[in-house]
């Protein structure tokens, strides 16, 4: 099958300028993501993963190189690229359904039925009229997922979306995310600290290196879904990624959360 390129990152470099000079965060990054692929990005803290996602989202356009989504070069934010942050970032003054609808009117019957659809999908029926303060962390994150999916993005960017959740909720939401990916075939770029999560979900794992941020290895995970976390093959991929992360002769291991 002939696959289309969903996301093309070409020679991207990023430097933050502060009073004491610049911090070189990303160094000539290249990455191609095919349509419908699920890519995880893993790497030591501070290697520039969040920065990279923000560049792709168009939230920060101060960088060198090119980023293209589909055949459009990225110049600013767009609903083409959904973003799910580590914190849910819901608007506290809006109910669940209004948060999901956002700037779309719930009086529009099409929007209404879409909102209902996604509330059902993330399993939040009965909480339509609840305010964010009345929700648990996992529920809030599900609202954020529904909010992003409703806009039917070409690429969904996820920055450690389950990092702050307990193991139970995390496993549940990983399942949900996987189902959504299989159903909608949305291209996903997931930043994570969790090797298990990356092997469980992705079609390929990008391992990054810090100072400056570079891509160290790209590990395709050719395992059929659903994947059993306890299987030998699963553990082998885990080991491969761990070795890529660890292997840095002469330097202490700085992969820690």
């Amino acid at each position: 099958m002939d696959m289309e390129t969903a996301l093309e990152i070409n020679q991207v470099s990023k430097t933050f300028n502060n009073d004491r000079g610049g911090v070189h965060v990303l160094d000539h990054l290249n990455l191609t993501v095919q349509e419908g692929e699920f890519v995880s990005v893993i790497g030591p803290s501070g290697c520039g993963k969040s920065t990279l996602l923000k560049l792709i989202a168009g939230l920060d356009s101060d960088f060198h190189g090119q980023i293209a989504v589909g055949d459009q070069e990225v110049h600013g934010p767009s609903i083409d690229r959904g973003f799910i942050f580590q914190e849910h970032r819901l608007f506290p003054w809006m109910t669940v359904e209004k948060n999901i609808a956002g700037n779309l009117s719930l009086r529009d019957s099409e929007v209404r039925s879409k909102v209902n659809h996604y509330i059902l999908l993330v399993n939040l029926t009965g909480f339509e009229k609840a305010y964010p303060r009345q929700l648990s962390g996992g529920m809030s994150q599900r609202v954020a997922i529904a909010r992003a999916l409703l806009r039917n993005p070409k690429v969904l960017l996820l920055d450690e979306p389950f990092g702050a959740l307990d193991a139970f909720t995390r496993a549940h939401l990983q399942e949900a995310l996987h189902d959504i990916w299989e159903k909608n075939k949305t291209t996903m770029v997931l930043v994570t600290h969790d090797i298990d999560e990356s092997v469980y979900l992705s079609s390929k794992v990008v391992v990054m290196d810090a100072k400056p941020g570079r891509i160290k290895a790209v590990v395709p995970i050719d395992l059929p879904y659903p994947r059993a976390r306890t299987s030998r093959a699963f553990q082998e991929f885990r080991t491969v990624i761990l070795e890529h992360l660890d292997h840095k002769p002469g330097e202490p291991d700085d992969f820690s959360i």
Binding site: L59, P77, F85, E87, W93
Partner: protein, 274 residues
Amino acid sequence: MTTITLAENKEKTLKRKKRSWDRGLALFRALFLPVVALLAWEVLTRLEVLPSLLFSSPSLILSRTIELVSTGKLWEHMEISLFRALLGFLLGGGLGLAFGIIVGMNRKSEQYINPTFQMIRTIPLLAVTPLFILWFGFGELSKILLISLGSFFPLYMQAFLGVRNIDNKLFEVARIMEYTRLQQIVKLMIPSSLPNILLGIRLSLSVAWMCLVAAELLGADKGIGYMIQDARSFMQTDTVFVGIIIFALAGKLSDSFVRILEEKLLKWQDSFKA
């Protein structure tokens, strides 16, 4: 099991009784001083320990109130006062809100506008009153403008603060969802700074009442402030008291109104306890 429920029920009714008794006691304690003071006032003025000409008395004030209400005089004064206060508040408060949001949104407009506003804010209003009368005469315009000037600043300051305190992370979300500039203002900035804006409204309203009194005491031929001033020159102390009570009530009522608004509009707030 039934005995347990019965016992529980009994305990509950006892608790409820205790609570209403507590509440009654609290009310009694709160009213104790005012009632004693009123009684003392009445007795002392009747015995002429306090000259009733200067201190009036609760019963005199009450009968004067009834008289002013029944002749329709009170309403005549109140009508014009309310009109001035409301119009001044709407004008000044509205402008304050708009400028607060604009200046909060935009660094450049802050640099151009904010220093000047802060300078004007420090001028005591009573000091500019004579100027306003010189410029705009004794008519309605000078009064309304004075009230507007007073009620401008609290709302300006609070709206500005509210917009400045909006979490930048929420702005990123709005940008990703392609909110237009207008949607950002209506659906993000205003609701997010609503706690500050409502506080600003409360402060502005109280300043509006103060400016109203100042404006009417300094020169008017109608209004509650004028009524007080006029009564003073005829030594009608009871009418002066009626005016003071009206102002106190108006201030309290408008404040309660905003509180109810807060209860309705801020129920999403985690920290808000109605």
